[in-house]
Amino acid sequence: MSNPKYLRRRVINLFNMAVAIALTGLALFFLGWILYVLVVRGIGYINPALFLQSTPGAGIPGGGLGNAFVGSLIMSGLGIALATPIGILAATYLAEFGQRSRIATVVRFINDVLLSAPSIVIGVFVYGVVVEPSGHFSAWAGAIALAIIALPVTVRTTDTMLQLIPDQMREAAIALGTPRWKVTVWIVYRSSLAGIVTGVLLAFARIVGEAAPLLFTSLGNQFFTGDPNQPMAAVPQVLFNFAMGPYENWHQIAWAGALVSTLFVLVLMIVARLLSASSKR
């Protein structure tokens, strides 16, 4: 076993494995760095007012992000609710029916192009097709813009995961006389659930942090509202305005809001992971 060729292979192996560990450490280091900054600057302002009060006007002490948290939840929730079924069904067509046909190739290609659409441009588009015709800014318009951003992410990841389910599984089920839709829902979706959940999570994580597409759609709201027909506040937009504003309490609220929304995404990811893991068993 001490022949030089084998030794060389082992050395290469060990080296590459060490590099993999180092790179994982590097990514975690940056995550830790950003989280550290968020905690140090944000923790001081974590209090009930942050969640209960609305965004304060300039120079007015106190205040919170209550209206923005609610607004972000409503709009991101609506956005994901719109994008997920559409995205999964479209991806189902690509992976199950279209496969390598020309139309499926074109849809995949277009979907990838859509992935890189600058979010502000999508906001401008929705302004033209939803806000102007309806005559006013609304949370619905914001949710539609967010859905358009989430859609290609969902399609991309779901398609990728479905394609990796071995055909034998489908064939076995079909041979037993199971209708195709049942095969897809009960066999294919089920075995790729973890991957689909990853896709939906990535999509959610992506839109929950978007500010630019909301500028011309949901506009923002200084006051509390739960009505999706009204302009509605969103956390990233407030973070941007407050972090760029001159007032100290705005800065504090911005950092605290950044910390809370990051923790929220973290909790969401852990919960979704636990759910998808327990349903698999």
Partner: protein, 328 residues
């Protein structure tokens, strides 16, 4: 008699079930086709709306819009060259760094990590995707860029900056803003997208495949390189596309650290811009028609760039697959 009728009704039931199943099948398929077309429709509609609004700029500047470096909102003279170049350079830096790092992470998570560590680290990496891009921007502006300028940039200038061919790429005042820093921030942002997909696809490689390779005496690296990677190449490319899309279109974080100058410099350390950052900077205040339509034209160009980059990637993938076919 009675047995016969029983059979008959059972057969009828089965036939009904089958017909029902077929009807559901058709419905299901129809629904999926519809939504697949929906994706096409969305992009089609976006492009039509953008084309209409960008038309004044294209008709005014013609093909020169793509090659001109002018950007003068006062004289209403616009060109896209610096934004196009900045977009390509920053996205290239990000992909070049993020792909190997993500691969390392996915390898660690699927092959090396102890079982109990897998989920926490996986979630931690995904969390990088959950941090709003504004936070990356603010962190980049107030913390990363100054740190980079004070501790890293001059070291690079003093070493790489003196090399003959690539030297000019790394020279310039240490202000910590520019293409390189934007590319680095983008790298951190797209890692989770690529790494999460890579991990998921590596996870579904049938164990029998890997085990037979191990049984032949392959090392982990060889199994990774020669079994897992080829088996998942389509999925891996998909993950890279996801990251590339994000890198090309990312707006807020880049705007904070790219320096925002409509210039083209030889150095990666000098302030530049990208298509998305130019749009983000000027769109909300653009009041005249030429200015607005020039910005929308930039958005359209970003689509064209994505189109070309994707087509190239698809072409490469095809070559890879063909190569593998020959080997096998």
């Amino acid at each position: 008699m009675s047995a016969n009728s029983l059979f008959a009704s059972a057969a009828a039931l089965r036939a009904r079930r089958l017909a029902q199943g077929r009807r559901m099948d058709r419905l299901f398929r129809l629904a999926t086709v519809l939504f697949a077309w929906g994706v096409l429709l969305v992009l089609g509609a976006i492009i039509v709306v953008l084309l209409v609004q960008a038309w004044p700029a294209f008709s005014r500047f013609g093909f020169g819009f793509f090659t001109s470096t002018a950007w003068n909102p006062v004289t209403e003279n616009y060109g896209a060259a610096s934004s196009i170049l900045g977009t390509l350079v920053t996205a290239f830096i990000a992909i070049a760094l993020a792909v190997p790092i993500s691969f390392g992470i996915a390898l660690f998570l699927t092959e090396l990590s102890p079982r109990w560590l897998r989920r926490p680290i996986g979630i931690a990496v995904e969390l990088l995707a959950g941090i709003p891009s504004i936070i990356y921007g603010i962190w980049g502006l107030f913390i990363f860029a100054p740190w980079f300028a004070d501790n890293v940039q001059w070291r690079i200038s003093d070493t790489l900056g003196n090399l003959p061919a690539i030297g000019p790429l790394f020279q310039g005042p240490p202000i910590g803003l520019g293409w390189l820093v934007a590319g680095l921030v983008l790298t951190i942002m797209i890692i989770p997208f690529i790494a999460a997909v890579m991990r998921d696809v590596f996870d579904v490689v049938p164990t029998t495949l890997k085990e037979s390779a191990y049984a032949m005496g392959s090392t982990r690296w060889e199994v990774m390189r020669h079994i897992v990677l080829p088996y998942t190449s389509v999925g891996v490319i998909g993950g890279i596309m996801l990251g590339l899309g994000r890198a090309l279109g990312e707006t807020m974080a880049v705007t904070f650290v790219v320096g925002n100058a409509h210039d083209i410099h030889a150095s990666l350390f000098m302030p530049g811009n990208t298509i998305a950052s130019t749009i983000a900077n000027e769109f909300t205040e653009a009041t005249t028609v030429p200015h607005r339509s020039a910005l929308i034209a930039l958005g359209l160009i970003l689509f064209i760039i994505t189109f070309v980059v994707l087509a190239l990637a698809k072409f490469l993938l095809l070559q890879v697959e063909r190569g593998q076919g020959q080997k096998a």
